[in-house]
């Protein structure tokens, strides 16, 4: 338990603890909810997403699986079509390659193929993101890869409050939900601390709606749209520039379905748009948002869109190489200043 401050109303949790608390609260009230995945049992999830669950619910509801992602994701789908609500963890998003058929061809499509007769109420959670030299196979974000497939909802919280609320929403949703937690937002004791990864989390159950972005920081000069850990960087920059440039930060929270209205409304107000994305730049989230503006009303813009996104390269190992590519605060600030000047 990583409770930082237990005083009433201001209790602060790490994102990891907020996620596991959300799962636990749903498990207490719904016997159909169970968890399975690699190292989700006594270990508590490699990134802490199931911390404490094994102690409370035991091996019958917190199932450690073999390294067999096609097998256990498929089993999650089978349990879900029978009406259970499995929360399945794919340890790293990068491992999707060994189980993508279950995700793309089964989890995402069964409801549609059945004409709405079969539901797949399942959460598939996974760690994303880099910044700690884990190389090309353990550092990707890939939310666009999943958001590209119709039938999947994809959420990626940036803070503990939203993580708990989105997890509860995901478990209650009758659709498959891909729940992507960036390692950098989890508040892990063994990784560089991002201060916004620990924050106030209500003790009671609550939901954060899937498909609804949040204005994380209000502003009038420029809209910065982002998701997950990059939102934290955007907020840092927005606070730094306050008094000089008024930055509005839109935290998408959900990639699919995308809350286009909130983005459009913000851009209508500011007339300028920076899109910050740790996922690959081409054919991804940043392009989708740019296309939305272009399709709906390009006249909203007073200046061309800027993108601070991961360049189209595999993620390099050496620190200097990886940080050359990551969407850092400096790059975000430079893009904003360039756009507003």
């Amino acid at each position: 338990m990583t409770v930082i401050d237990a005083s009433p109303g201001t209790r602060r949790l790490t994102t990891a603890k907020a996620i596991s608390e959300g799962i636990a609260q749903e498990m207490r009230t719904n016997s159909e909810v169970f968890v399975m995945g690699e190292d989700v049992g006594p270990y508590g999830g490699i990134f802490g997403s199931t911390t404490g669950l094994f102690d409370e619910f035991g091996a019958t509801r917190i199932l450690d699986t073999p390294i067999s992602e096609t097998g256990f994701i498929g089993a999650g789908i089978g349990a879900a079509v029978e009406g259970m609500r499995p929360v399945v963890e794919l340890m790293f998003v990068d491992f999707f390659g060994v189980c993508m058929d279950q995700i793309y061809n089964h989890m995402a499509k069964i409801h549609y193929e059945s004409g709405g007769n079969v539901k797949v109420p399942m959460v598939l959670m996974m760690a994303t993101g880099g910044g700690y030299s884990d190389g090309a196979q353990h550092s990707q974000c890939l939310w666009a890869t999943f958001a590209h497939m119709p039938g999947l909802k994809v959420v990626a919280p940036s803070n503990p409050h939203d993580a708990k609320g989105l997890m509860i929403s995901a478990i209650r949703d009758d659709n498959p939900v891909i729940f992507m937690f960036h390692k950098g937002v989890m508040g892990l004791p063994w990784m560089a601390k991002n201060p916004r990864s620990i924050g106030p989390v209500p003790e009671e159950e609550y939901t954060v709606p899937i498909g609804k972005a949040a204005i994380a920081h209000e502003g009038t000069d420029v809209t910065v749209v982002s998701v997950s850990l990059s939102v934290q960087h955007c907020l840092d920059v927005a606070e730094k520039l306050a008094g000089d440039i008024s930055v509005e930060v839109v935290d998408l929270r959900t990639i699919a379905p995308l809350d286009r209205d909130t983005v459009l409304a913000s851009v209508a107000k500011t007339g300028r748009l920076v899109i910050v994305d740790e996922d690959y730049k081409s054919f991804g989230m940043s392009g989708e948002i740019a296309a939305t503006i272009a399709e709906v009303d390009p006249m909203l813009l007073r200046a061309p869109i800027k993108r601070v996104a991961y360049p189209d390269i595999p993620i390099p190992y050496a620190r200097v190489l990886e940080y050359e590519a990551l969407p850092t605060r400096d790059k975000i600030e430079a893009a904003i200043r360039d756009l507003v000047s």
Binding site: F34, P66, V81, D101, H106, H111, E113, G115
Partner: protein, 326 residues
């Protein structure tokens, strides 16, 4: 022993399935000539029919209840019909009509009937982990329902087959894995694709019982599946069965099958239905008139289902946008 009423019922079900596949074949091809176009006609798309494999479906499903789950592969009609899926709704789905199981969204490889716990996957072996999950749900809820995954012998070289077996074995889940060995993975014979002569031997790798059933004999299949289902229902865990059957027709309709050579005539001669019919006649269980009546009944049911499908409305184009999400 299989009692005599059940033997006649096996025959009736096999005739019913064959009548179905023949009628689908007829209507599938009828409007695709002279310039054969897979996307044209009343039934567009790929079509995988199961003539010759009726004993597997009938012998298997005679052991199953509505609350037992069955995941079928890309060649699913025989299994769906034997599992009790409504013939009219299934036919309407194959014809792409609003009255179909999936309102025309799924097609012949994607038949879903939640009331019968029946589903399909067009991806080889990938229905097997789903059956494991259904069995996991049954087990968690404390019911004695079982889940069955059916796949072809070509599927036994897929990772999903091995992952599903390991999981089911380790968690001792009520799953029956059935490999329908029809000798061909499209054009590739099993001796050039599979390192073992008998896929049931692979059960040993997961510490579960394995059995290969030769002869495409509905009664032997029924008995073998019964042992497996009894084991699963009583908490004894999964079983792997490989059933040697026969693919009388092409992998898909339109498959010229030049790769089969003389074996094709042998396969056609190995039709299990006349063989079983002769056996029941010899045992004085069927008369010529009863045989004619069974066929007439089957034909009537099948033609009524096809007529229902043809009379059903096509989807409104705007329906394409429905059911992406619940």
């Amino acid at each position: 022993m299989v009692d005599n009423n059940q033997r006649v019922e096996f025959y009736r079900q096999m005739v019913r399935i064959r009548a179905y596949e023949e009628a689908i074949r007829r209507d599938y091809h009828a409007d695709k000539t002279p310039a054969w176009d897979i996307g044209a006609g009343l039934i567009p798309g790929e079509m995988h029919l199961a003539a010759g494999q009726e004993p597997v479906a009938v012998g298997l499903c005679a052991n199953l209840r509505d609350d037992d789950a069955l995941t079928a592969p890309h060649r699913p009609h025989h299994l769906a019909l034997a599992k009790g899926v409504d013939m009219k709704a299934m036919t309407a789905e194959i014809f792409g009509r609003t009255t179909g199981l999936g309102k025309g969204k799924g097609g012949h490889m994607h038949l879903f009937d939640p009331d019968k716990h029946f589903s399909c996957s067009g991806i080889i072996a990938e229905g097997m982990p789903v059956a494991v999950g259904q069995a996991l749900a049954f087990s968690r809820r404390g019911t004695d329902s079982v889940a069955v995954a059916v796949a072809g012998e070509g599927a036994a070289n897929q990772g999903a087959f091995h992952e599903a077996l390991n999981l089911a074995a380790m968690w001792k889940l009520p799953v029956i894995f059935i490999i329908e060995d029809n000798d061909w993975a499209i054009s590739v014979p099993r001796d050039t694709s599979t390192s073992v002569a008998n896929n049931a031997d692979r059960a040993a790798a997961y510490g579960v019982p394995g059995e290969r059933i030769e002869g495409n004999d509905v009664e032997a299949i029924y008995q073998a599946v019964k042992r497996a289902v009894d084991r699963a229902r009583s908490g004894g865990g999964p079983t792997l069965l490989e059933i040697h059957t026969v693919r009388m027709w092409g992998h898909f309709e339109g498959d010229a099958q030049a790769y089969r050579g003389d074996e094709l005539a042998e396969a056609e001669a190995a039709d299990p239905i006349p063989a079983y019919e002769a056996k029941l006649i010899a045992d004085d269980l069927l008369s010529e008139s009863e045989i004619a009546q069974i066929l007439a009944d089957a034909t009537e049911e099948v033609e009524a289902a096809i007529a229902f499908a043809k009379a059903s409305p096509e989807p409104d184009p705007s329906d394409a946008y429905q059911h992406v999400f619940a």
